[in-house]
C-alpha cells in the first residue's frame, strides 16, 4: 500500500474518533485489507503531525493511543459554538421557577404542594445562584420557612419592567394566543395585563 494512501486512511480514521486509537489497533484494522507494517503506520502518523503544524488541529499521543484534537487557537471560536448547545434546564426547574414567578412569595412547601413532588435542593440552588430567585423573608409559621420571590435581575433577563407585564394565564390556552400575549408584553408596553395571580 502506498505511503500517501495509508496516511490518508489513518487520518480519516483518527478524525472520526473522539477516543484515542492505538497504533496496534490501527495495525489490526488496516492489515486486514492491506499490506502494511507497524513501522509504516508510525511513519504515516509522524508525517501527519508535520502536515498539521500549520493547521488548527494536532495529533497528540496519550496513554491509550493517538488522537487528533483542536489547537488552543480555536478556543474562542469553539466556545461560541459549544455554548449554543448547553444543556437545557429541566422541566422541574422551569416549573419551580414558574410557580415562584406567578405565586410569589412562596415557600418550598408551597411549591411542593402545587407540583405534588419534592423540590430538589439543587434546583433552588441553581435558581438562587443565577440570581433569579431570592429569599425575601420567613413565614410566621412553625419552622419559619423561607419565602422565595423573583429578583429584579430576573425581570431584566426577560426584558420586563415589572411582573405585571407577564402574560396573564387564563387567556392562554393556545400556543397561538401565547405568542400574541408575549408580543403584547414585549412590543407595546402600554397594554399592561394585570395578572390577577400576582398581587
Amino acid at each position: 500500500m502506498n505511503k500517501k494512501a495509508l496516511k490518508n486512511i489513518i487520518e480519516g480514521i483518527l478524525l472520526s474518533s473522539f477516543e484515542p486509537i492505538s497504533a496496534d489497533k490501527l495495525y489490526k484494522v488496516l492489515s486486514k485489507h492491506n499490506q502494511t507494517t507497524k513501522a509504516d503506520i508510525l511513519n504515516a502518523i509522524d508525517e501527519l503531525k508535520d502536515d498539521y503544524s500549520l493547521k488548527e488541529i494536532e495529533i497528540i499521543n496519550v496513554a491509550s493511543g493517538y488522537r487528533i484534537q483542536a489547537k488552543n487557537t480555536l478556543t474562542d471560536y469553539l466556545s461560541i459554538i459549544f455554548s449554543e448547545r448547553i444543556p437545557r434546564y429541566s422541566r422541574a426547574l422551569l416549573e419551580t421557577l414558574s410557580i415562584i414567578t406567578y405565586r410569589q412569595p412562596v415557600t418550598r412547601g408551597d411549591i411542593e404542594s402545587i407540583r405534588g413532588v419534592t423540590v430538589s435542593t439543587s434546583i433552588m440552588k441553581t435558581l438562587t445562584d443565577r440570581n433569579w430567585v431570592r429569599i425575601i423573608g420567613y413565614r410566621e409559621v412553625p419552622g419559619k420557612p423561607a419565602m422565595f420571590a423573583t429578583t429584579p435581575e430576573f425581570l431584566d433577563y426577560f426584558g420586563l419592567e415589572s411582573l405585571s407585564q407577564l402574560p396573564e394565564l387564563p387567556q392562554i390556552k393556545e400556543p397561538k394566543n401565547l405568542d400574541l400575549a408575549l408580543d403584547e408584553t414585549t412590543d407595546s408596553k402600554k397594554t399592561t395585563i394585570p395578572p390577577e395571580s400576582i398581587n
Binding site: 478556543t75 416549573e95 408575549l182
Partner: protein, 273 residues
C-alpha cells in the same frame, strides 16, 4: 423484499422468524402448526393485523385488489385461533380485524341485487387501508437502506476537551416559563378533582414531626405515632410519612413476632456520635 420484512443486513437472506430445536422457521408452515415458542416470536414479527394480512396475501401471490376474502379470512382466523389456544396475549387490533373480515365476508354472501351492485364493494375500505399501509411499509424499507450516521457514515469527531471553554449557562425562554406554569396548573386541576390539593396536611411536614418524636428515643411504638384525635386524613398522612421515611432509610421498622407490636426507630439518632 418478497415478504416485506426488513433485515438489518440488506445482503442477508431471509431471516428465520424463530429457531426451535436447531431448526429455523422462515415462513408460516402450510398446516399452520408452529411450535408455541416459535409462534410467540412469529407474532412479534408482525407489526399488526394489516401487516399479517399483507403477508398472507403476498405470500400466496394474490392480487390485493381481488382478495378472495373467504380464503384469507379463514387463514387469518385460523391463525388467530391458534394463538388464542396457546393463550398468547393477542392485541385487540388483531381481533378487531378478524371481526372486520367476518363482516366483509358476510356482506359478500348477500345475494347481488341491482341496488347492492351500485354500492361499494365491501372490501374497498380494507383494500384501501392495506394499500395505504403497504406504501409506508415499503418506503420505510427504503429509508432503512439510506446511508445513516454511525452505520454507514462516520462524521468527524475531533476532540476539543483540551480547550478551556467557558462554562455557559442555559437560557430560558419566557414562553417556556409560561408553558411550564400552565402544565403545573393543569396538573393541579387534575389533583383538585380528586380532592388532593385541599388537604392542608403535608406528608413532608409530618415526616418532620415523626422524626421529632423519635429523636433521642430508642424505640417508639408504631401506634403511638398516630394522633387518634385527627380526622382519617391526618392518620393517612402520618402513615404516608412513615412509609416515606422508611423509603428514605431514615427510620427502621421492627416487629419481633407475627402480630406483635411494631416498633419504630430513627436511624439518624443511632448513627450520631
Amino acid at each position: 423484499m418478497d415478504n416485506g420484512f426488513i433485515n438489518n443486513n440488506p445482503t442477508q437472506n431471509e431471516m428465520p422468524f424463530a429457531i426451535v430445536d436447531g431448526e429455523s422457521f422462515t415462513e408460516l408452515p402450510q398446516d399452520l402448526y408452529i411450535p408455541p415458542v416459535a409462534l410467540k416470536v412469529f407474532l412479534d414479527t408482525f407489526e399488526g393485523p394489516l401487516d399479517l394480512l399483507l403477508y398472507l396475501i403476498r405470500k400466496q401471490n394474490l392480487n390485493i385488489l381481488d382478495i378472495p376474502i373467504a380464503e384469507i379470512t379463514k387463514q387469518y382466523v385460523d391463525y388467530i385461533n391458534l394463538m388464542s389456544d396457546l393463550v398468547l396475549e393477542l392485541a385487540g387490533e388483531y381481533l378487531l380485524m378478524a371481526a372486520m373480515l367476518a363482516e366483509i365476508k358476510s356482506r359478500m354472501l348477500l345475494p347481488l341485487f341491482e341496488e347492492i351492485e351500485e354500492e361499494d364493494d365491501p372490501r374497498a375500505e380494507l383494500v384501501r387501508r392495506l394499500l395505504e399501509y403497504e406504501r409506508f411499509r415499503t418506503v420505510s424499507e427504503s429509508i432503512n437502506l439510506l446511508k445513516r450516521v454511525d452505520r454507514d457514515v462516520f462524521v468527524s469527531n475531533v476532540n476539543s476537551d483540551n480547550l478551556a471553554k467557558p462554562m455557559e449557562l442555559p437560557d430560558i425562554d419566557l414562553k417556556d416559563l409560561v408553558f411550564s406554569f400552565q402544565d403545573v396548573l393543569k396538573r393541579a386541576d387534575m389533583f383538585s378533582t380528586l380532592h388532593f390539593t385541599k388537604e392542608p396536611l403535608s406528608v413532608r411536614e409530618r415526616m418532620g414531626d415523626v422524626l421529632e418524636t423519635l429523636k433521642n428515643k430508642e424505640f417508639v411504638e408504631f401506634s403511638s405515632l398516630f394522633n387518634l384525635e385527627e380526622e382519617k386524613m391526618g392518620l393517612v398522612v402520618t402513615f404516608l410519612a412513615i412509609l416515606e421515611l422508611m423509603k428514605e432509610s431514615l427510620i427502621e421498622i421492627v416487629q419481633a413476632k407475627s402480630y406483635g407490636t411494631i416498633h419504630i426507630k430513627a436511624l439518624l439518632s443511632s448513627n450520631k456520635k
